[in-house]
């Protein structure tokens, strides 16, 4: 049985993720849950996130999600981080005046800046909101059947900068290049929202539901 646990630490709407998973894996047993045991039993874990990092971290700590997520990743089963869920895996974030995050991935989460410009010198707005291209910097089972440079839906003002750039599995451009996806063993995380990215997003989620974590 493919049991997929979507981590619920009280921040934002998780139904979109659950509906998208149900759409691509109708036979999967999908749970939106804060239950450590259920997450431990699950074959796959999704760690989403929206909202401010400070509020997310305080709920994560209160509910013991730092341990739950670390344990899931250590177990070797496929884990997918989405948006703020990706950022929270890093060492710390510049958001809210500087917040320590979970420290699972070595690196920092940085603000795009108020004076961001593109290659032509045109002012870029923050948040980075809308559909942007993702260059697949490494081949990965989660990119299967998705064209290189396919567009995904982003909405964020901060971006992840892994210390080890080899962890970047997807790269996008906004002002300059930034890491829009990472892959580390059985962990994959995206800054964009696959559950809101139409066909290519659903394809990525379908790939995740089949991925062995290798």
């Amino acid at each position: 049985m493919n049991t997929i646990a979507i981590c619920d630490y009280g921040m934002g709407n998780l139904h979109s993720v659950a509906s998208a998973i149900t759409q691509v894996a109708p036979d999967a047993d999908v749970h939106i849950t804060a239950d450590a045991e259920l997450i431990e039993r699950a074959t796959r874990v999704i760690f989403p996130g929206v909202g401010a990092v400070r509020d997310c971290m305080s709920e994560i700590q209160r509910l013991g999600f730092d341990t739950i997520v670390k344990r899931a990743i250590a177990s070797g089963k496929p884990v997918l981080g989405i948006c703020v869920g990706m950022q929270l895996l890093f060492s710390n974030s510049e958001e809210n005046g500087g917040i320590d995050c979970m420290g699972i991935v070595d690196g920092v989460v940085k603000y795009f800046g108020d004076d961001l410009v593109d290659a032509q010198g045109e002012k870029l707005k923050v948040p980075h909101m809308g559909w942007n291209n993702v260059r697949q910097s490494v081949a990965h089972p989660l990119w299967e059947s998705i064209n290189d440079q396919a567009q995904f839906y982003f909405v964020h003002s901060y971006y992840c900068q892994p210390k080890n750039s080899d962890l970047s599995s997807g790269v996008s451009e906004y002002g300059s290049e930034f890491t829009s996806a990472i892959a580390k063993d059985n962990l994959f995380a995206t800054q964009f929202h696959p559950e809101k990215s139409h066909r290519d997003g659903l394809q990525l989620l379908a790939n995740f539901c089949r991925w062995t974590g290798e």
Binding site: G12, S19, V50
Partner: protein
């Protein structure tokens, strides 16, 4: 490659049906919101905006149910506006599957509501809807004021100053509707769109007046909007979203095809 410009079909929903009025009167029925949203999703819409114009309290529950249904079948971002007055309203819509909420009159009544909402839910899901009407006489410098209650109630507030204030309070995006143009099919109020887009550093969605595909191009190229919203040109089958995108691409606008 730059961020693609977004095409956003808008569903004005009254008591469970998509409607479209010309300057908010003469309302025409345009179908079941779930079916309409699915159609636009298939056609390649970048987002969908759902504006609830239902007046009654009972109607609100219908809306929540409808948002749930759309969100379970449409995998692109969904913004829900209309009647959002409290953080509980926002929570209900987000839980139903909305990605963003549009705040309009409640922001005018209490600008701190936007700050509170943004701090609680994040700027990324707070869209401030601004209904603006030109108040300058011909020959005078352009000036627009915001109007509430479907464009009926003047507030005396300068629209550009208001947009700056809303962004300072944490709006992540602005949905800018010209009440002079809404429903006219004469195109966006381009000086208004351009003035606001240059004034604030969050994305501007231009709305009100789209009657043909060139209007969409103008909103982006002349108005400098980040996204364009339209209703009737899509509802009544004049154009598909796909056709709109192909036309825009031919005109040099970067869109997601």
């Amino acid at each position: 490659m730059p961020l693609s410009k977004r095409i956003i079909p808008c569903l004005d929903v009254d008591n469970g049906r998509v409607v479209k009025g010309v300057q908010f009167v003469d309302i025409r029925d345009a179908g079941d919101p779930v079916e309409v949203a699915k159609r636009y999703n298939e056609q390649g819409a970048d987002e969908i905006t759902f504006l609830d114009i239902t007046a009654t309290h009972e109607g609100r529950d219908t809306t929540i149910h409808m948002v749930e249904k759309i969100a379970s079948q449409v995998f692109i971002p969904l913004t829900v506006g209309g009647g959002i007055r409290t953080t509980a309203d926002i929570r209900a819509m987000l839980n139903a599957g909305a990605d963003k909420v549009g705040i309009n009159s409640a922001a005018v009544k209490n600008p701190d509501f936007v700050r509170e909402a943004s701090e609680r839910f994040g700027a990324q899901c707070i869209v401030v809807a601004i209904d603006a009407k030109r108040v300058s006489e011909p020959g005078e410098p352009d000036r627009w004021e915001i109007f509430t209650h479907g464009g009926r109630k003047p507030t005396g507030i300068d629209a550009l100053e208001w947009s700056e204030k809303m962004v300072a309070n944490g709006a992540g995006e602005i949905l800018l509707t010209s009440m002079d143009r809404d429903g006219t099919k004469n195109g966006f109020d381009l000086p208004l769109v351009k003035a606001m887009s240059e004034r604030v550093n969050v994305p501007i969605i231009a709305s009100g007046g789209v009657g043909n595909l060139q209007h969409l191009v103008d909103g982006i190229k002349v108005g400098k909007a980040d996204a364009v919203l339209a209703a009737s040109i899509f509802h009544f089958g004049e154009y598909t979203v796909q056709q709109a995108k192909e036309f825009m691409q031919e005109q040099g606008v970067d869109v997601r095809i």
